[in-house]
């Protein structure tokens, strides 16, 4: 625990110093890095300690809070998230330092301090063992992340995105208030440990589950509660988007896991709900992503997709728990855990590289870019690694966690009741569809941005960004490959955390049964690498004796192709979107070229977010117009005001005295 506490202390100290030293730029940067690095490393060390020994530790601080207690604890569940948080915050922080270093206009120490505050609040969220402390940390997290998003507050879009984020997340938090208070009523305590000892009748558990789904789902970005996400992530500076998408939304997952751990016994429909949410969020997220032509917005929708995958794992875990099929539960939870970590790593990597590319080219519009792999080799290749990983392709970490989720779903298919089988099958199909669509989407993004030629902007002066930005990305990319090729360590950590969820220690035999196939898969992958090497070698050797020419891309006989004539991301996505046009609101509009010698023409396509445009905005507008209508109460005439009082008095008299 001392490791964790000292990490918290260092970060608090850093935040405090940063607030004090708002004047000196150089100092604030130094303090930022000087406290962030040891703070994160200590936090990661604390998490690793718990994950390796699988023994929880806890600590009570004697602070007199009005309603709760400052009670911290790190069990494997917390530790797994703690590890994720520290790794991503560390790399995004260093990157952010490089990203902002040349920004001479702004006062960065406030931003740095807020970054520390967000980190501290996240660490508290995952380690709080008291509901009040949890809520405090939760709200602090919302607040600090709001101000982090508002870095470019001079832009209207950013302000609106931030506002949306704040109100949506705060409304969700009220559900959590009610949820925790109901739990506290049942158990008579605000401590998670005490709550876990209480027994919850099934209807109450269901109600708590719904509250949790709404409250945590808003943060996690379950469809249709995801509406803030595609606005907030692009609005923030990229290192902030990385942590928002990488770990902040995972706190919703963490919260759900903690809730499940506390309540334990759920009615079956809860697991069904989770699986359905997972499928809808997964497929919906990736379809919406396919329709986006702005890189960060696209990535934001992919967060929704990956949350869907995590939820599939979680749902299977819960179902396994309900059916007393511990093995399926274990794998499901482990898949969810590992995907949390993996998504943090590769989505962090993708957002960071997107940031690097936006910084270099000043635009994130995919259809204006192209050919950047030659100009931005580090960014481009690391983006490729992230893209391969997020599609769940073998050799990278995404495959490992998706494999676990698949495995869990199949496990459910083999052992559950009929509706469980049906739903698991549906989930497997969704997962397959998600995989295919994600691959299409990232082929589109990577191809349009980094390959071919630039479509609209001049990239001859584009240069790679500083080492400070590339190294954190490279570290994250390295983790992607490391887990992809040597999954045993992280899978066993994930299993440890999953064993906490099922509240029973996991035998090494069970662990072996789960890990062994992965090791064989790794063997196959090494054969794959070997084959690639042999084929390359053969080709290389042969090429020495054969002529190699350089020429223009073949234009099929057309003599003067321009780079504007390349396939765009919008057209790349068109066939798929056309297939799914009944699910999406996919519209192509524009002024198509007419006649034989057309002079100008334009076509654009757009996918609108159904939840946002057809539900939340109208609902919000309704509240606004209702309040505007009701404002006639305050009409300005004092006579009326006096009448209100008398009527009210009369009403009370009739009500209470008669």
């Amino acid at each position: 625990m001392s490791l964790f506490l000292s990490s918290l202390f260092i970060l608090c100290l850093g935040a405090f110093l940063l607030v004090l030293l708002t004047r000196s730029r150089a100092m604030s940067g130094l303090i930022f890095l000087g406290t962030l690095i040891p703070g994160c490393l200590l936090g990661a060390a604390a998490a690793l300690g718990v994950l390796i020994h699988r023994a929880p530790i806890d600590h009570r601080l004697n602070l007199r809070m009005p309603a709760g207690e400052f009670y911290l604890g790190v069990d494997p569940l917390s530790a797994f998230f703690l590890l994720t948080i520290t790794i991503l915050f560390l790399s995004a922080g260093v990157y952010g330092y490089g990203y902002l270093k040349s920004d001479k206009e702004r006062n960065l120490s406030v931003h740095y301090a807020l970054y520390h505050a967000a980190l501290i609040s996240l660490m508290l969220v995952v380690t709080a063992k008291n509901a009040v402390l949890f809520l405090v940390a939760w709200e602090l997290m919302a607040l600090s992340s709001y101000f982090l998003i508002m870095f470019h507050d001079e832009k209207k879009a950013v302000r609106e995105a931030g506002y949306l984020y704040l109100i949506v997340t705060h409304t969700g938090t009220f559900c959590l208030w009610v949820m925790f208070l109901l739990m506290a009523r049942q158990s008579g305590s605000m401590d998670f440990d005490q709550m876990a000892l209480a027994s919850f009748p099934l209807p109450l558990a269901g109600a708590l589950f719904i509250l949790g789904i709404i409250g945590f789902g808003v943060k996690a970005g379950f469809i249709p509660l995801h509406i803030w996400l595609p606005h907030a992530h692009p609005a923030a500076p990229s290192h902030i988007s990385a942590v928002l998408s990488g770990v902040m939304i995972k706190m919703g997952v963490y919260g759900l896991m903690r809730t499940i751990l506390i309540i334990k016994d759920f009615p079956e429909w809860c697991a069904v709900t989770l699986l359905l949410i997972g499928m809808i969020s997964g497929v919906g997220g990736v379809l919406y992503a396919l329709g986006q032509h702005e890189i960060k917005k696209l990535l934001a929708y992919h967060s929704v997709e990956n949350i869907g995958i995590i939820t599939l794992g979680l749902g299977t875990g819960l179902w396994g728990q309900i059916c007393h099929n511990e093995f399926a539960a274990l794998i499901g939870y482990a898949g969810a855990f590992l995907h949390v970590f993996n998504h943090a790593v590769f989505k962090g990597l993708l957002f960071l590289s997107a940031g690097s590319l936006i910084r270099s080219t000043r635009t994130g519009e995919i259809d204006r870019l192209g050919g950047l792999l030659k100009r931005l080799p580090w960014t481009g290749h690391l983006f490729l690694i992230g893209a391969l990983a997020i599609c769940g392709l073998p050799l990278f970490n995404g495959f490992v966690s998706e494999w676990l989720v698949y495995r869990a779903l199949f496990e459910g298919m083999f052992h559950f009741e009929l509706n469980g089988i049906a739903l698991s099958s549906l989930a497997v199909i969704s997962l397959a569809l998600i995989g295919g669509l994600a691959a299409a989407c990232f082929a589109k993004a990577f191809g349009a941005i980094f390959l071919g030629n630039s479509r609209s902007i001049d990239i001859t002066h584009v240069t790679e960004n500083s080492v400070l930005m590339c190294v954190p990305m490279a570290v994250l990319g390295g983790i992607c490959v490391w887990i992809g090729l040597f999954p045993a360590v992280m899978v066993s950590f994930a299993l440890g955390a999953a064993a906490t969820m099922t509240s029973s220690p996991i035998s090494s035999a069970t662990e072996g049964v789960i890990i062994a196939p992965l090791l064989t898969a790794v063997l196959v992958l090494s054969i794959l690498i070997g084959t690639i090497a042999i084929l390359t070698l053969l080709k290389r050797t042969a090429m020495k004796f054969l002529p190699v020419e350089k020429a223009q891309t073949w234009g099929c006989g057309y003599a003067m192709p321009t780079s504007r004539m390349q396939y765009t991301a919008a057209s790349f996505a068109q066939p798929l979107l056309q297939i799914f046009r009944n699910v999406l609101d996919y519209r192509v509009k524009g002024n198509r070229p007419k006649e034989y010698f057309p002079e100008e023409g334009e076509v654009s396509s757009r996918v609108t977010d159904a939840a946002e445009d057809f539900f939340f905005r109208p609902a919000f507008g309704f509240i606004k117009s209702l309040s505007a209508k009701l404002k006639v109460i305050q009409c300005g005439y004092t006579q009326w005001y006096l009448l209100y009082i008398l009527i009210f008095l009369l009403m009370l008299l009739v009500w209470k005295m008669v």
Partner: protein, 306 residues
């Protein structure tokens, strides 16, 4: 183990173009021609191996790496599939997922390689490939689900070997439906008629072939070899599903399997001779049809009880 893997891979490498040869011969025969020799695909690939390369100035290393990666991926995928008495050398629980995702890896690289050229034709092909393969993958997984439910296993070779005979007896319609849908996927994945026409290039309606317009020499050879292997592996799986020969003695297994492969190749030729390529916008409908077949199969399994 190592030798078995090597043997498996060697079988695929040596025999896969032959399948294409048989199909080509059948097609020629059906229209009343002698057609190219059986070994023509070997000659084609061999010719390409002797040619030099032309690279577009737009391209990066991805353009050159994609053929290698994609061929390696399909080659490695072969080790999960039993070929008659040649059992899968390296099976593990859950290998079907890796099997499917290896194809995903190959496809991803081919698509980005097409985008790497900056040619709008290749972009178009890549876009269609991405769209169709999404649907095909879903159908493939649905078929896997049926097989997994019937065999209670996630090992590809066990799924097609273990109790496929009793499955046939108990759930005949389901397997048949799965087989039909799998066959449609096979056609789509391998760019055969009616989804795509391997004999033409450069038509605006093409899918797979336009993606490789700019490849030449060894790269093109790898690509052609890769697609031959893919057809071979997926075809072998098809034969394994449809023909429950695993109870037979090893020699018979070998004979039945290879006979099945030849029948498949001939069958492909027949299908391609009798049908025209579908219009592009009907391809998704075909795949959705395959999906429905598989779904009905799954329902049969679920309703009859596992």
């Amino acid at each position: 183990m190592g030798i078995r893997i090597l043997l498996h891979i060697m079988v695929v490498v040596i025999l896969s173009p032959l399948l294409l040869g048989i199909t080509g011969k059948t097609k020629a025969f059906l229209v009343g021609r002698w057609g190219p020799p059986l070994l023509q695909p070997y000659y084609d690939i061999g010719k390409l191996f002797r040619k030099g390369n032309v690279y577009s100035t737009t391209t990066t290393w991805i353009f050159q790496a994609a053929p290698v990666v994609s061929m390696a991926a399909v080659l490695v995928s072969a080790i999960f599939v039993p070929f008659g008495s040649l059992k899968a050398p390296l099976p593990f629980f859950g290998d079907i997922i890796l099997f499917a995702y290896l194809y995903g890896l190959a496809r991803f690289f081919m698509i980005i390689a097409a985008l790497d050229t900056g040619s709008s034709f290749e972009g178009m092909g890549a876009s269609r490939e991405a769209a169709f393969s999404c649907l095909a993958e879903v159908v493939l997984f649905l078929d896997f689900i049926i097989l997994a439910l019937l065999s209670k296993s996630l090992v590809l070779s066990e799924m097609v070997e273990g109790n496929i005979l009793s499955s046939w007896q108990l759930f005949g319609p389901a397997i048949l439906l799965a087989g039909v849908s799998y066959f449609l996927v096979l056609l789509a994945e391998n760019a055969r008629i009616p989804v795509d026409d391997p004999a033409t290039h450069l038509e605006l309606t093409m899918v797979h072939e336009v993606m490789v317009l700019d490849h030449s020499g060894w790269d093109l050879a790898y690509i052609l070899y890769g697609s031959a292997i893919k057809l071979f592996v997926l075809g072998a799986l098809f034969v394994n599903i449809l023909v429950p020969f695993h109870g037979l003695p090893p020699v018979m297994q070998t004979i039945v399997f290879w006979a099945g492969m030849i029948v498949l190749a001939v069958g492909l030729g027949i299908v391609e001779s009798c049908m025209a390529r579908l219009r592009l916008n009907q391809v998704p409908q075909l795949l959705i049809g395959a999906f429905v077949f598989a779904l009905v199969g799954l329902l049969v399994v679920l309703i009859k009880g596992v």
